[in-house]
């Protein structure tokens, strides 16, 4: 099968805030406007629009795709909303990629929006409906349970301590201090701050968790012949992958995200990557909780099982380390407006690979990066590999 080359040519984002005055439509429009301006294009150049946004339950609006369509610039255009839970933000550019790679369109707009603040008293309650209504919901589970249960299993299996894991939150919140859109950047945070923050659901403390946020991110994707006319610095989408594990989450190995491995292997094969640890220069794995960054580095085959904390301890994953991980500041630092947070990782790779990341720039002119997101009931992995 022959696929056309596809590049990211423009990106824009709003600030990630706990509660935005703007509606989801307005946030989407702001991000789109910035993305179009960044590549000097207009809505007339856009042939199709791909939208990503997480559960309708957050907004209390049915069919959020239609609701957001005017802000996303979708009217009178082929338009589709995709949704794979937390994995959405990295899946929606994959959708735009196959629209273009297939030859169907030359230029697509990708928009990811989330407004989590509308739900009262707290967006977490909207997650109750992800559990099985008959066998789990009568136990009144909350979202923290599944993360706490998975984190504990991961720690137990490999003998990892909470302090080992807290280093990830420290690194990402420090990195986020250099991100102009970040909600929780903090240059001076320490491992003790994380360990001493409020205990929510052992082993999860407050600072192990990313914040509920509002925000939007947009990208412009173009086929090779268009991309080369628009910019001398296109960032190519070299590989994509996605995979789903069983929804019967209590029937699988919680210490290892096999679905992430499957998604990564699909993307590595497409990108022709044989030795990911040597060929991937920047990693933006999904980090809604600090242990997830480690879990995902192992699933992405970028660390041996149970060894990811050692990479953090050795400084390998620092912004100026051998394999920078979440130089953006990640969800833990920049914020976690779910679908927008995943697409923020793609935007970060775009800016990093073009050398435009400012204070966050990874040294050494990185050539290739990987972004990954994760979601549904802890079971979907989505991966995009980008290079210049």
């Amino acid at each position: 099968m022959s696929k056309r080359k596809v590049a990211v040519v423009g990106a824009g984002m709003t600030r990630f805030v706990r509660r935005a005055q703007e509606t989801g439509k307005e946030l989407s429009w702001q991000a789109v406007r910035m993305a179009l301006e960044s590549c000097e294009m207009t809505m007339d150049d856009i042939e199709a629009v791909c939208l990503g946004t997480a559960p309708d339950a957050f907004d209390g609006v049915h069919m959020k795709g239609e609701y957001l369509s005017d802000g996303a610039g979708a009217w009178r255009k082929p338009y589709m909303r995709s949704y794979v839970g937390g994995g959405t933000g990295v899946f929606v550019p994959i959708q735009a990629w196959y629209h273009i790679a297939s030859g169907l369109f030359d230029v697509c707009l990708v928009v990811a929006e989330e407004k989590m603040s509308s739900f009262y008293p707290h967006a977490q309650a909207a997650f109750l409906t992800i559990f099985d209504h008959t066998t789990e919901r009568p136990l009144k589970p909350n979202l923290l349970w599944i993360f706490a249960l998975e984190m504990n299993r991961y720690m137990h299996t490999y003998g990892i301590s909470k302090a080992d894991i807290a280093q990830v939150a420290v690194k990402n919140k420090r990195n986020a201090a250099d991100h102009p859109c970040a909600l929780l950047g903090d240059k001076n945070i320490t491992v003790e701050d994380v360990l001493n923050s409020e205990l929510l659901a052992w082993p999860v403390n407050r600072l192990d968790v990313s914040p509920v946020s509002d925000g939007a991110v947009a990208l412009v994707l173009a086929a090779e012949h268009v991309a080369k006319r628009i910019t001398d610095k296109p960032v190519w989408i070299e590989g994509v992958g996605w995979s789903l594990d069983t929804a019967h989450w209590t029937n699988r190995d919680l210490a290892y995200p096999r679905y992430v491995e499957y998604a990564a292997r699909m993307a590595y094969e497409m990108a022709g990557i044989k030795e990911p640890r040597k060929e991937i220069h920047i990693v933006e794995p999904y980090d809604p909780f600090d242990y997830k960054e480690l879990h995902h580095l192992e699933g992405l085959l970028l660390a041996d099982r149970g060894q990811a904390p050692q990479l953090v301890a050795d400084g390998v994953t620092l912004r100026d380390g051998d394999m920078p991980v979440c130089p953006s500041g990640g969800l833990l630092g920049v914020g976690n407006p779910i679908a927008a947070a995943g697409l923020m990782k793609i935007a970060e790779l775009f800016w990093q690979l073009r050398g435009e990341a400012g204070a966050r720039q990874v040294p050494g002119q990185p050539k290739r990066g990987l972004a990954q997101a994760w979601g549904d009931l802890m079971q979907v992995g989505t991966v995009v590999i980008m290079g210049r």
């Binding site: 977490q124 349970w145 706490a148 998975e150 299993r153 052992w202 919680l254």
Partner: protein, 173 residues
């Protein structure tokens, strides 16, 4: 071009801005009432719980015993026709001490959700439930536990027919 942009859009509000009436905000709540059909396999699971039995299902092809039971094996996509009564004992696969309710109220005494690998099911195959009759600080992964059932007359065919799992004192490793 993030390094070239100084002012990003997005206006941050606090709860106080709304309380003080600086911006408009509209509150409404949705009424939603559902009657979920339990289906065939989970229906049998619930019927067995009413009888004080945890029911699993076995795939003859994959030689896996899963719990809760289901009609189709997600590994080979063949029908799972054998229902298998399992033990009401098991091992704590993982647990949490949760100080927050589902709607983010703080609580003093933690709830102890756990994944419990049920004896008779395949390795690492468990169910979500809670632990009780134990000091939260003494819960350990690998601990053997046993279901505490509601009295027979009070069972209704629901996962809550098991009140919780408690340490299985006869069988600690």
């Amino acid at each position: 071009m993030t390094s070239n942009i100084k002012n990003f859009p997005g206006t941050s509000l606090s709860e106080q801005d709304i309380v003080d009436g600086k911006v408009f905000s509209l509150h409404d709540s949705m009424r939603a009432d559902f009657g979920w059909d339990t289906g065939v396999a989970v229906g049998r699971y619930l019927a067995a719980l009413k009888e004080g039995v945890i029911l699993g299902a076995r795939c003859r092809h994959c030689r896996k015993t899963v719990v809760p039971p289901r009609q189709v094996c997600e590994w080979c996509y063949r029908p799972m026709s054998d229902y298998v009564p399992l033990q009401d004992t098991g091992i704590v696969n993982t647990f949490s001490l949760c100080y927050v309710t589902w709607d983010v109220q703080r609580i003093k005494e933690p709830e102890i959700p756990a994944v419990i690998e049920i004896d008779g099911a395949s390795p690492l195959h468990g169910i979500l439930h809670k632990l009780g009759e134990i000091n939260p600080q003494e819960v350990r992964i690998g601990m053997r536990v046993k279901a505490v059932w509601k009295p027979t007359a009070e069972r209704i065919g629901a996962i809550t027919d098991i009140l919780y799992f408690r340490p299985n004192l006869e069988k600690q490793p």
